[in-house]
């Protein structure tokens, strides 16, 4: 049954267009979580990424800059459209993270939220009568903001990324990177990469999930460059007769989309232009499945009577028992 030669036109390749049409009609969902201390520019960055006021800050009329006592999660959704492609973008904010004096376990509400979304999806998937398209609120990407200290990862960074790297795709970024010179930036990045490896933290794109050689080559380039050093802004300035997004300072204009200045464009390309679908796939086929396996196994072993679902196992049990009889 090797590959066969077709003697003439059949029309199989038309299926690509069919698929494109259908997905464009149905639209896409993307859920992105931003985590980091207050003041690191999370809202600004997200707005810059999606070229519109998608962050909670920008669209909540009663928003106040307050340090909250606890970590709570707030999400806000928007429908954005580009060239006929509709996307339902949900940005999940985590105010209060890392802002307390005692930050122990500040990741718990976040872990809880992420697992709750997996649970919601699992419950719907297990229904007898289930929706045609299960609404996807699972976190596809968690952007973790590292302050541009120039030194190394802090304990809170290590603890957070260690835990969350197991359940969600983490993309670490160096926030407000315009305080680092190029050399400082390179050193900082290298130290961070060392720390990540030493602590066994897996960030996106994870090596194990590269599908083929092409993927590996592409992703290796990204892995050598993370975390991206970003600067965000929604203001435009005139540079050389062009309007560019940038931060104006006394000593010059930092062009956000200029790769010589910062790596915002790399981040945007990764998250939106090239790997968005992959982020969703990794979430669905790997993180969600891991959750599902764990959940179904622990229900199996629990005393309270909730059992695992494997009807397949139940049926084989039945056959075995019957044959014994």
């Amino acid at each position: 049954m090797g590959g066969r030669d077709l003697f003439g036109y059949v029309g199989i390749e038309a299926v690509l267009d069919q698929m494109r049409r259908k997905t464009m009609k149905a639209g896409f969902e993307f859920n992105i979580m931003v985590v980091g201390q207050s003041g690191l520019g999370k809202s600004t960055l997200v707005n810059t990424l999606f070229k519109s006021k998608v962050s909670r800050k920008s669209c909540t009329p009663s928003y106040e800059e307050k340090i909250s006592r606890t970590v709570h999660l707030k999400s806000v959704s928007h429908i954005i459209e580009e060239k006929g492609v509709k996307m339902r973008l949900t940005v999940i904010d985590t105010p209060g993270f890392g802002d307390q004096i005692n930050n122990e376990n500040c990741w718990d509400p976040i872990v809880k939220y992420i697992n709750e979304q997996y649970e919601k999806y699992l419950t719907e998937e297990l229904h007898i009568t289930r929706k045609r398209r299960i609404p996807d609120t699972r976190v596809h990407c968690c952007v973790y903001f590292l302050p541009a200290t120039g030194h190394r990862l802090r304990p809170i960074d290590v603890e957070f990324m260690k835990r969350l790297g197991k359940i969600v795709s983490i993309v670490p970024v160096i926030a407000k990177a315009d305080t680092l010179t190029m050399d400082e930036r390179l050193d900082f990045k290298q130290r961070i990469r060392q720390d990540l490896q030493a602590s066994g933290i897996r960030v996106y794109p994870q090596k194990e999930y590269d599908e083929d050689v092409e993927d590996r080559i592409r992703n290796d380039k990204i892995r050598e460059n993370i975390p991206f050093a970003v600067v965000g802004t929604d203001k435009e300035h005139q540079v050389n007769g062009n309007k560019v997004l940038g931060r104006k300072t006394k000593w010059g204009i930092i062009e956000v989309e200029n790769v010589a200045h910062c790596e915002f464009a790399n981040l945007r390309d990764l998250l939106v232009r090239s790997h968005l679908q992959d982020l969703k796939d990794v979430t669905h086929y790997i993180h969600y499945e891991t959750y599902r396996v764990r959940r179904l196994n622990e229900s199996n072993a629990s005393v309270s009577g909730l059992s695992a679902l494997p009807l397949e196992n139940g049926i084989t049990e039945k056959y075995e028992a019957q044959s014994q009889l």
Binding site: M1, R4, L6, F7, G8, V10, G11, I12, E13, A14, V15, L16, Q18, M19, R21, K22, T23, K25, A26, G27, F28, E29, F50, K51, S52, K53, S77, I79, I80, E81, E82, G84, V85, R88, T123, L126, H127, I128, T129, K131, R133, I134, P135, D136, E211, D234, L276, D278, H284, Y285, E289, G305, L306, A308, L309, P310, L311, E312, G314, L325
Partner: protein, 427 residues
Amino acid sequence: LSSVYLCLSSGVPENARPLSLSGHVGFDSLPDQLVNKSTSQGFCFNILCIGETGIGKSTLMDTLFNTNFENFESSHFEPRVKLRAQTYDLQESNVRLKLTIVNTVGFGDQMNKQESYQHVVDYIDTQFESYLQEELKIKRSLHNYHDSRIHACLYFIAPSGHSLKSLDLVTMKKLDSKVNIIPVIAKADTISKSELHKFKIKIMSELVSNGVQIYQFPTDDETVSKINTAMNGHLPFAVVGSTEEVKIGNKMVKARQYPWGVVQVENENHCDFVKLREMLICVNMEDLREQTHTRHYELYRRCKLEEMGFRDTDPESKPVSLQETYEAKRQEFLQELQRREEEMRQTFVQRVKEKEAELKEAERELQGKFEQLKRLHMEEKSKLDEKRKSLEDEMSSFSKKKAAAELLQGQAFTANSNLKKDKDRKK
């Protein structure tokens, strides 16, 4: 391969505001990202061909996919309907297609066709069941799963020119909720144009009046609604298949050559082959796959789970988790199992007792027999002893008598000889 089914969003936005973008973000590449992933994984398409032996199923498949699938003719003497599935890897430009063609062997050949459709239904259900089993596993790999569910069912109608056979109606009725049915009129070159027109109308009205739901080409997407609506009106497609080529003008075309003319397969005036190819492959392959997954498979899954006793809400209309129901059922089943085991044990013990009793009885009998034999033996022995005694007595009295007789004889002889002597002396 299933990724395309699951990543589509729910379409209707709930509590999300529309927002305009101030510049190019770049997520318009999303459909391309998705398509690229699917291309590297490849596509799966499974067609089921139902029709009588010799009606032209294999030839049509060869013609449709422009290749030679190496089929061999089936006999007409199959005792029951069998389904034969073969998988092929096709490639056109950068699209790889894993095509599975399932043929019914012996359909319509039996004297008694009552069971014919059941094998087909069972086959379709088996593929759904496989998928369901995989989906329910704890450690599953749907990403790599080779989807064997039937995406399109081509039902071949014999070109009688009159109406559908009852076998056709019964079979299609049984299948319409399980698979996308596309009826085709086979060997359409045996029907004239006017007869064909009447035939098509008759077939469609029979399908409608019997409530058979055949696959409708989707008309909700503006890009294709026009062509799909038009094509819906041409059903069932009258097809002619041929892999042989005939020279027409200065081109070689697929055709069937008769003494009275040449039927060109790809000539839309001659038959609907091109329409079928258009609809089945070029325009609606993805929709066929989607309908199979979101409609037919979901229906099967729901029915199967309900059959096993699972519900989404319990009698008080509170939501019930599948796990709880499953655990309850499992306990029930285990208890039942225990009860049955106990029963069997009881029965076993009972039987053992009975057997023991039987054996004891047999033992007693044997014992009795033994005693009896022993007694008989003793009796015989004593009888024999008596006989011997009496014989011995006889013998001894006989020998006594003999001795006495001998003595007497001796005496008599002596007396005789004395007498003789005396006589002699006296002389």
